[in-house]
């Protein structure tokens, strides 16, 4: 993969801005849009995976313990996971807090 988007200099912009490699949309850091972020109380989590199904960004994955957690590089902080979670694991907090 080429450089991350915030490392690209004007000299890296190729002819006509043509992108030759496939799949580089994954470098797009949509997490920078976020004003709120999800916080977790995994003691309440039943690992149902509903948050992962509802996440419009597709950025929720299971961590080493099997709990579902958002990848903050992509999480836009929409809060849909927190609203859909049956057992109230997820609380959205303001980014600056």
């Amino acid at each position: 993969m080429t450089k991350r988007e915030n490392e690209i200099t004007w000299k890296d912009v190729g002819v006509g801005g043509i992108v030759e490699e496939a799949g580089n949309a994954s470098q797009y850091e949509s997490g920078t849009w976020r004003s709120q972020r999800p916080t977790y109380d995994f003691s309440r989590c039943i690992k149902c995976g509903l948050c992962q199904l509802f996440c419009p960004e597709g950025c929720i994955e299971q961590n080493a313990e099997g709990y579902f957690e958002a990848n903050m590089y992509y999480c836009k902080g929409c809060g849909i996971c927190a609203r859909e979670c049956w057992t109230k694991v997820i609380t959205m907090v303001e980014e600056e807090e």
Binding site: E5, N6, I8, T9, W10, K11, D12, V13, V15, G16, G17, I18, V19, E20, A22, Y28, E29, T32
Partner: protein
């Protein structure tokens, strides 16, 4: 042998595109450019030019089709004027940033309203900042020559940018002139086949015209700006090669008795030839006057312009467009800003004239030069004067 023929300039422009072996023409007819694309349609229909002619429903579509054709690796030509250029407007920026080397002849026309089909440079000035290379021509021969040069420059791997060749509507487009036609074999030697390395190709897919978030948009714009500036060297090289092969030479800033003249007139396009005659007459009367003509409009030839005017006391600039409520003529404004930081520079006086097909005669240019000299000495209440308006 090259052949000298009497032909309407529009037809010669179309035949230059044919000699360059254009693959695709997508165009919509509009006065005063219509004869160019009409003739290309004929040439394709008659089998004289093996190209795809795409008749579209608007200029927006014409330029969009040109982008697609060029992206697929085709040598692409179109022509337009006035309102047609305006309707293409948003697509022009796409062509330049995507580095698609479309060649377009523009038969310069005034913009509505009031409706005018006649010539001036208001259409050009509205597309000044679209990132295209822009060349002005003064007569039929220059039109043909520079359409040929445009293909070579645009498709040069060091350039890959679209080019507009500006020829004044009616003054050039509809005039029959003697034009030297080069041999086809010589044209073939001058314009190598187009090999665009990154064309649309299902076997080697790439993404074109992608999206740039704020974190990279500025980087793409700096790259585009520095790239357009860097193409000047290739343009000069192409004109030098053209001169060697065909014996006609072109420079970004042309001068006429300008080397040591204390008074200079500056023009762009076909009016320059009339201005030359006025300069001859005034020099005959003992006035120390010369003419500078701007041929390369983008990238702007800063060094050449400064060099051409550095010894003059007065520089009188004629614009054929108005920047309403602004500094007057767009060309004059750019000349002023190009000279502002120079230690030794002429006093710049701006005139706007030749709007919507209004003629400026030899006597008119004499009058402008004399008035300009007077304003440079005695000042004026106006930022610029619209020449020849009935009070």
């Amino acid at each position: 042998m090259a052949e000298r023929v009497g032909i309407e300039v529009s037809l010669a422009v179309a035949e230059a595109a044919m000699m360059a072996n254009t693959d695709v023409v997508a165009a919509y007819p509009i006065t005063p450019q219509t004869h160019i694309v009409e003739h290309l349609a004929e040439l394709v229909a008659d089998g004289a030019l093996d190209a795809a002619y795409i008749p579209v429903e608007s200029e927006h579509s014409a330029m969009s089709a040109c982008l697609g054709a060029s992206a697929a690796g085709a040598r692409t030509f179109t022509a337009t004027a006035g309102q047609g250029l305006e309707l293409m407007h948003e697509v022009l920026y796409v062509a330049s940033n995507m580095q698609l080397p479309v060649v377009m002849a523009v038969a310069n026309r005034a913009l509505s309203s009031p409706l005018s089909v006649w010539g001036d440079h208001s259409d050009v000035m509205s597309v000044r900042d679209t990132g295209w290379i822009q060349i002005f021509v003064e007569n039929g021969q220059e039109s043909l020559d520079n359409v040929l040069c445009a293909f070579r420059i645009a498709e040069d791997p060091r350039v890959l940018l679209p080019i507009m060749v500006h020829l004044d509507g009616f003054y050039l487009s509809h005039v029959i002139e003697p034009i030297v036609y080069p041999e086809q074999s010589e044209v073939d030697k001058f314009i190598p086949p187009f090999k665009y390395a990154l064309r649309l190709d299902t076997d080697n897919p790439v993404s074109m015209g992608t999206f740039a978030p704020p974190v990279v948009y500025s980087e793409t714009k700096k790259a585009q700006e520095l790239h357009l500036r860097s193409t000047k060297e290739v343009i000069l090289e192409c004109w030098r090669e053209f001169g060697k092969q065909f014996g006609r030479n072109y420079c970004p800033v042309e001068s006429y008795h300008a080397e040591d003249a204390s008074i200079l007139m500056l023009t762009m396009g076909s009016f320059s030839e009339t201005a030359m005659t006025a300069v001859d007459k005034l020099r005959g009367e003992g006035m120390d006057v010369g003419l500078v003509r701007l041929r390369l409009w983008r990238p702007f030839p800063f060094e050449e312009l400064r060099e051409a005017v550095k010894n003059a006391d007065v520089l009188i600039v004629l614009d054929r467009a108005i920047s309403y409520g602004g500094p007057g003529g767009p060309v004059c404004s750019e000349i002023r800003s190009a000279l502002y930081n120079e230690v030794k520079k002429p006093k710049v006086v701006g005139f706007v004239g030749g709007l919507g097909g209004r003629d400026i005669t030899v006597a008119g240019f004499e009058d402008i030069i004399k008035k300009g000299l007077d304003i440079s000495q005695n000042g004026s209440e106006e930022e610029f004067e619209i020449y020849g308006v009935r009070e």
